[in-house]
Structures are given as C-alpha cells and as structure tokens.
C-alpha cells in the first residue's frame, strides 16, 4: 500500500547569487512496511527532499515551487499549516543526522518526549511517563526509568540518537524520515540502530525513508533504493536489482567507488569531477560532464527507461544486461 507519493517535487532556494534548484522535479513513493533508501553524494538534494515532505525547509530562501506530496491521499504541499502540524510528529516523524544537537539542552529527555506526547496524544504526566519508559526500552536504552530524568549532556551520542528515535516513534507514526541517522555514530551503534529500524518495519509495518550516502547501509537494510543526482532521481530499483544490475552510469560509478567492489591490489575507482553547483547545472542530463558514456544526445533531457519490474532509469545510455560488469572489470 502506498504511504507517501511524491510527484514532480521542485524545491528551489532563492538566494542573492541566483536560484538554486536543489530539488528539481523528483517523483517516488514509499510503501507501508518498506524501507526506502535515498542515496547520493552530498548536495544532491536528499535532505531538502526530506525537509520538503514536512515543509520544514528554511523559508526564505527555500520554497516548494511545484509538485505534490500525497500522504494518505492528502497533499502535504497545499495543506494548511494547522493541519500539517497535526501530521508532523504524529503520522510522519523525522530523525536528524546529528544526535548531539537534536535535543534541547535545557530540558530532561523525558520532558522533551512528554511534550510531544501531550501535544499529539494528550497524555497526562503519569501515562506519558509510562509510555516514555516503554519507548526507551524498545529502542534499547538501558535503565529506561532512570534515563527519563537525564539531561542530554549526560548521554552519549548513541544514547541521544536512541532518544531521538524514541521521540520520533512515541506517537506511533506511520512514516519515519531518517536523515542519515547513523552518520555521526560509531559502527557498532550504527548496526544496532539500523537493526532497530528493520525490526520496527517488520513488527509495526513502519514505512521508512532512509537517507544515506553509505551503500553498505543500503544493502543491509533497504527494500528499495532511489538514487539521486543533482536534484533529480536518476535510478529507482529494488535493492537486489540495484546492486546486481545498476543501469545509470552514476549508480555504477557509486558502486565502483566502494572499496569492496575493487579487486585487491588495484586502484579504487572514483567518479571524476564534482557535483556541479546548483547555480549552473548542465542542460539535459546533469551527470554528462562526469560521465564516460556521454554523447551529444545527453544535452537533451534524458528519457525514462523501464529496465525491469520497478526498475527505472533516467539516462540516454543506460547499462543493460551485465554490461556494467565489464565497466567494473
């Protein structure tokens, strides 16, 4: 069942230097009980997409200029702010990248969760406390009853991220947007938190939009993947297809830059150049300046190819069949 559908979303930033089309016409959907990975280099519009869903982009300079974001059939983009506020935190929750600054330093963590619970569920103090302890043990915080009264600075980064997740999940949302939830954490904590997300997906049918630039994380946890480049979706596929038959040259490049894809002893391959500045994206395919397969046709808008079941790519010269194997070899 489709939980969230994004249709042709455009979020632009209007700065003194010019208009930055950070998100420029993207479409994808998230189903119930599915973890959707959104991958891409820094600055490709992943976070802006996530923030556009809840309409929390800093405004000005940012603005959603076009597109629809359907949640349960209701358009979040045109919805009045009061109605959206009831959805934020209750039906759609978000966890942020930096656990160190995601909690308010002046309140205890329990107090911060209590406010969310009383806002959305109207729980009184005792009920809220019971619920918080329950949530804390769910996310794997040891001694949950004692941690309720702790201040953020008394907790480690991993602990704070768990509190953030508990806060995001305490009103039983149906969609969780996780913006690089594990980037700031060490590897063991990272694995625990990702396992928790998988568990919540399986047990509660939670839909998750997992933003990351770590393809390892994607391979382990995601069901489907959206690859973004320069504000556009270049490839959408289920996770097996993406790793087995990547079609877009950019996806292939990303996979080639993984250390484990390289043969021992050989140099690690990289994608030449940098992500172009949003101020002067190339016309047509935005990857063409860095693409080894680019031709003159690439200055035109690339067409959408359906490569397989649910596997779509936006490219003039996609890799087909096992073609990419040769590229890697």
């Amino acid at each position: 069942m489709k939980l969230l559908e994004i249709h042709d979303l455009k979020t632009h930033f209007f700065t003194d230097a010019g208009i930055l089309p950070s998100v420029d016409g993207i479409s994808f959907e998230i189903n119930q009980g599915e973890i959707l990975g959104v991958v891409g280099e820094s600055g490709c519009g992943k976070s802006v997409t996530a923030m556009s869903i809840l309409r929390i982009i800093p405004e000005p300079p940012g603005r959603i200029v076009a597109g629809r974001i359907l949640f349960d059939g209701h358009d979040l983009v045109s919805m009045p702010i009061e109605a959206l506020r009831k959805i934020r935190g209750r039906d759609i929750a978000m966890i942020f990248q930096e656990p160190m600054t995601s909690l308010n330093p002046v309140y205890t963590v329990g107090e911060q969760l209590r406010e969310v619970l009383s806002l959305h569920l109207g729980l009184d103090d005792d009920a809220a406390r019971a619920r918080i302890v329950e949530m804390f043990s769910l996310v794997g915080i040891s001694e949950p009853a004692m941690r309720v009264d702790a201040y953020p600075h008394q907790m480690s980064g991993g602990m704070k991220q768990r509190v953030m997740i508990a806060m995001a999940l305490c009103c039983s949302p149906r969609l969780l947007i996780a913006d690089e939830p594990t980037t700031a954490l060490d590897v063991t904590v990272q694995a625990q938190i990702l396992n928790l997300l998988v568990k919540l997906r399986d047990e509660r049918g939670l839909g998750v939009m997992l933003i990351t630039h770590d393809l390892g994380v994607v391979a382990e946890t995601c069901d489907r993947v959206v690859v973004m480049y320069a504000g556009r979706v270049v490839e959408t596929a289920c996770v097996q297809d993406l790793f087995a038959h990547p079609s877009h040259p950019y996806t292939v490049g990303l996979l080639q830059s993984l250390p484990d894809a390289a043969k021992p002893g050989s140099r690690l391959q990289t994608i030449p150049g940098n992500v172009p500045s949003p101020l002067n994206f190339p016309t047509g395919c935005r990857f063409r300046d860095r693409c080894s397969r680019a031709s003159s046709a690439c200055s035109l808008e690339p067409p959408l190819h359906v490569v397989g079941d649910g596997h779509e790519v936006r490219c003039h010269h996609p890799y087909q069949g096992g073609e990419h194997e040769h590229a890697i070899a």
């Binding site: 929390i56 935190g89 929750a93 942020f96 600054t101 308010n104 330093p105 406010e115 969310v116 008394q154």
Partner: protein
C-alpha cells in the same frame, strides 16, 4: 555535583568565583538595607506612651501611610518589610530551609492585599512630628516614653534649626542645606537605586527580549524593521536622548525616569536575543521541534528562549549597574524626581551647595554598588562560559 540542571551547574561554578560571590552577598545585604530602611531611620517612634496611656507604635502604622511615605515605591518596600520579617523568622530561624510553594503563594497573596490596602489608605492624623510633639508634651508636664529607631529622622523631615551641621554622633553624615539627615537620606536612597536598577532592567529586558526574539525568529522584513529601529535608537547619543525625554515629561516621578531608562537601553538585549535566536533557528533541536508539530509560540518561548537567556542574564546584571548610573546622572543634572532622596539627587544638592559630605557619600555609594554589580556580572559570565569550566 548532585544535580545536573544547567542553572545549578552555573550556580555551582559561580560560587567558586569568591570575589563575585562575595559581591552578590553584599548586594543582597544592600537590598536588605533598602527593605529594612525604616527600622534604621524614621522619625516615627517604634514605641510611644503618654503618661500611663496604652503603648502605641506610630512607626508601624506610618509604614502604610501615604502621607508619610508618599512614593508608591516606599510603600512597596514597607509591605515587603512587614511581610519579610515574619517570613524571615519562619524560614530561617524556624529552620525551614526550603520554603514550601504554598506558603510562598500565601505570602504573595498577602503582599498583594496589603499593598492594595495601603495604596488606597489615607489616614488623617499623619502629619505629626513626633519629636516636636514629645517636646511640647514634656513642656506641658506630661510623661512621655518613646523608643525611636537608630536615626530618629524622616528622609523628608526638614529641620531649619539644624542646617549644614557637621558630622556628629546624632548625624553620622551631617545634615544638608535644609537640615535633613544625610545618612537617613542615603539609606532611603538605596531603595531608589535598587528599584531603578531592578525595575527598569526588568522592563527593558522584557521589551528587548520580545523584539529581539521576533526579529531573530522571523528574519526578513520583520528583522529589517526591528533592526532599523534599533539602529535609529543607537545613532542618537543616549544621554541626549534621556535628557530630551526627561525634558518632555512635566511632572517627573521616579517611574518616569525608569521608563526613560528602559526606552533607551532595550536595544542591548534586543540585539543579543536576535543574534541568539538566529543561531538557534538553525539548530537541529529547533528544526526537530518544528518537525514534531509544535507551534511557533512553543518553539520561540519554550525551545529557543531558555537557550538564549544565559547571555541576556549577564547583560541584565550590567544593565542594573548602568541604570543606577543613568538615574544618578539624570538626577545630578536636575532632571530627575526631586521628591525622592535618590543618590543622584543628594549629589545634585551637594553640587549646588558645595558640601563635601553630600558629594562624597553618594559618590562612594554609587561607585561601590556599580562595582559590585559589575563583579557579579563578570562572575556570571565566566560561570556560564563552558570553556572556563574545569
């Protein structure tokens, strides 16, 4: 450290700065001096008995007497005195270390009732000079027993037979050109300075914080508007602005002076809070609060403001010092409230009469108070600086 609250942390750290901590204690002592002024100096006898008549306490009833204490400010302090003594015994002598909230609430309500009562209460018999009355009665052959405070003078009681008297046991700082006891006036002047400091700072902190918060939160046009307003205020030399404003008010009371001070000084906290809010606006916990569905008011005042208050509190301490200085300046230049015995007024009298006690006493008092406040402010600033914490 038992508790981990930020305020406790700062307090714990502050106590380590001996100089600042001692300064704070001295300021509290000064505040107590302001509250207990009538116990030290009053021309109303604490106890009074004529012949074998009943014991009376004209002093006690004069505390609520609008004819004796004309200023609302003094009445407020007197009510604090009356309620302060019993609560002092209740909480400290009675060894109740943590005053229960309910008792405090009862005291607050009592304070309000007593204040309202005294503000509208005008007894008719008040304009009696008890020392004169005593002389007359003794001359008439009546037996008078009376107990006066240490300094048996009112801060307004004129004694033309005792003008410009030098320092003596009866007048520790002499008398001024109208025969008023300078020491008494200095003690009551503490009330003025404390009120000017605390009240005008409280006033402009509220104004400045709200405007700064709006500017920092909304940014854009709101910010530009408030910022221009601040810039206009800043571009006028503040002393001239104060003098110009003071000149426009015809019957200046001390509250007008406080309002004028607040109207000039609000730009400092406004700029500070604006900056803090701009910094906090992009902090992830604020974005997270928006994403959790909280409204603007909650985000501004519950999430952001407590995080912005630290530096504001430090400037507030310095603000008290500068407010006291400004009041003194305005009074010294003759644009203050001439009915109150503020330190600046005493200084002004000293300037016009050339009496050195009238210059030195308020001068030193202002110097000490402002220094203490600055020391406390600096201690507070250091205590809040995480880099200086060990």
């Amino acid at each position: 450290m038992s508790s981990a609250r930020y305020s406790d942390l700062v307090w714990h750290q502050f106590k380590k700065y001996t100089l600042a901590y001692r300064s704070l204690q001295m300021l509290v002592a000064l505040l107590l001096l302001a509250v207990f002024a009538p116990l030290l100096a009053s021309d109303k006898p604490l106890l009074w008995r004529v012949s074998n008549g009943p014991w009376e306490s004209p002093w006690f009833w004069s505390l609520f007497d609008r004819n004796v204490y004309e200023g609302t400010l003094d009445i407020v302090f007197n009510v604090m005195l009356v309620l302060g003594v019993p609560s002092f015994f209740l909480f400290f002598v009675g060894a109740v270390r943590e005053p229960p909230v309910r008792t405090l609430r009862v005291l607050l309500v009592l304070f309000g009732i007593l204040l309202l009562f005294t503000l509208f209460h005008h007894p008719s018999h008040a304009k009696i000079s008890y020392p004169d009355l005593e002389k007359i009665m003794i001359a008439e052959g009546q037996e008078v027993t009376s107990v006066y405070p240490l300094l048996p003078f009112g801060f307004q009681s004129v004694d033309l037979s005792n003008v410009r008297s030098p320092i003596s046991w009866a007048h520790p700082l002499g008398t001024d050109n109208a025969g008023r006891d300078v020491c008494t006036r200095m003690i009551y002047g503490t009330r003025i300075s404390m009120t000017v400091g605390l009240f005008s700072v409280a006033l402009y902190m509220v104004i400045g914080t709200i405007l700064g918060a709006l500017a920092g939160y909304y940014g854009g046009r709101v910010d530009a508007l408030i910022l221009r307003l601040i810039e206009v205020m800043l571009s006028i030399p503040s002393l001239f602005l104060i003098l110009a404003m003071a000149a426009f008010v015809e019957k200046r009371s001390i509250f007008h002076v406080m309002l004028i001070i607040a109207a000039v000084l609000w730009t400092t906290p406004a700029r500070l809070v604006r900056g803090e809010f701009m910094r906090l606006r992009s902090m992830e916990f604020v974005v997270a609060a928006v994403a959790s569905g909280f409204g603007k008011r909650h985000i501004m005042f519950r999430e952001m403001l407590p995080n912005a208050l630290g530096p504001v509190l430090v400037t507030a301490t310095f603000g008290v010092a500068s407010s006291i200085l400004i009041e003194s300046t305005v009074s010294f230049l003759g644009l203050g409230d001439i009915t109150v015995p503020s330190w600046g007024q005493i200084l002004n009298t000293g300037r016009s009469t050339g009496m050195w006690t009238l210059i030195l006493a308020p001068g030193i008092a202002i110097f000490i108070t402002v220094s203490l406040l600055n020391l406390v402010g600096e201690g507070l600033r250091d205590a809040m600086d995480p880099k200086l914490r060990q």
